[in-house]
Symmetry: C2
Subunit: 204 residues, 2 copies
């Protein structure tokens, strides 16, 4: 990595928690200068605009959050258990100060911020694809019901978690997020998991 | 209403959609001046701070949104149907530009804005109390299962709707909100509605 690229990455890493906590408008250049020890010129040598810094900062924050939420999932053989573990990880921690970047930036980028909005849409699509791929693998392996609407299930998981996070954040307790997890787990067990005996389970 | 109070109300009504769309930091005094045709002094004669304007604007936006969502509910005799209608109203329209004020301000007020945060918490508590009162009335009338955890049900409804709204907003389609409604309706029918015959139903 070149010296310039290294500085760019350092700026992104420092800006990510600031944008995630303070929002696009609430995070000003002075905050990024204070966090990096760089002057305005030293920052804008590496970025064309504040919007570009915010977009890269979002991708960085999202990569950390999703990295934690996906960690070790592949080692869980059952696909429904894999999704349940992913949900538990979401509830446990975000890995970046300020909470889920999708919630923060999804609300924040709604008002005429096309670059940031595109990154948020891409992040959501990526999350949905990951859940859908796990469900499809599960259908193939016989762990997930064959008639499950994978798009709908993935959307309900994401909506349930993000809504629970919003309410938990307002209430300043984990109750809503815990309730959302319990509800999603029950949904996965009753509506998504293939019934034992009926499905063709892999033999060992 | 005094002339001063009238102007104050006019400022709040003009500021409400601006804060709801643009967020606390994104809505600047200039925007409120442009929307009201007033000078800075003409605005701050009626408010102590921008935070006070934002707090009153939130209450105003929330009253409009909840007014629409509660409209005519009392006329529906069955309590589960009443909640289903309330959910349908949430999905249909907010009544104020920028979408649900609880989602916007809940995320926005998270970073050191105590007056605004308190208003959001109060709004959430009010919404929960309204749902809980309807459920408790339903338990008494025999339309809602006696063993329902009213706090949990109210929290799941709010989380589900707000999460669906976030995903719908990012995706720019109504799909997630529609899925959330469908899921909540199924939940209400299977887990909350009292089973026919078992409950003591009012006789006519």
């Amino acid at each position: 990595m070149s010296k310039g690229e290294e500085t760019r990455q350092r700026i992104i890493a420092a800006a990510a928690p600031l944008f995630n906590k303070q929002g696009y408008e609430g995070c000003v250049l002075k905050d990024i200068m204070a966090a990096t020890g760089l002057e305005k010129g030293g920052i804008y040598r590496h970025f064309e605009s504040k919007e570009e810094i915010a977009a890269e900062a979002f991708d960085y924050a999202w990569a950390i959050a999703m990295g934690l939420r996906r960690e070790g999932l592949e080692e869980i053989p059952d696909h429904v258990d894999r999704i349940k573990q992913h949900i538990a990880r979401f509830v446990q921690r975000t890995g970046i100060p300020g909470g889920c970047p999708l919630l923060n930036t999804g609300v924040d980028s709604d008002n005429g911020n096309p670059i940031l909005r595109e990154r948020v849409q891409k992040a959501l699509r990526g999350w949905q694809k990951m859940l859908q791929a796990t469900l499809r693998d599960g259908i193939e392996a016989g762990t997930v019901r064959a008639d499950v609407d994978v798009e709908k299930v993935s959307r309900l998981i994401i909506s349930g978690l993000e809504g629970g996070m919003l309410v938990s954040r307002i209430e300043k307790t984990d109750q809503a997020l815990g309730d959302a997890m319990e509800q999603l787990d029950a949904y996965l067990e009753t509506q998504v998991r293939a019934k034992r005996g009926k499905a063709s389970r892999p033999r060992r």
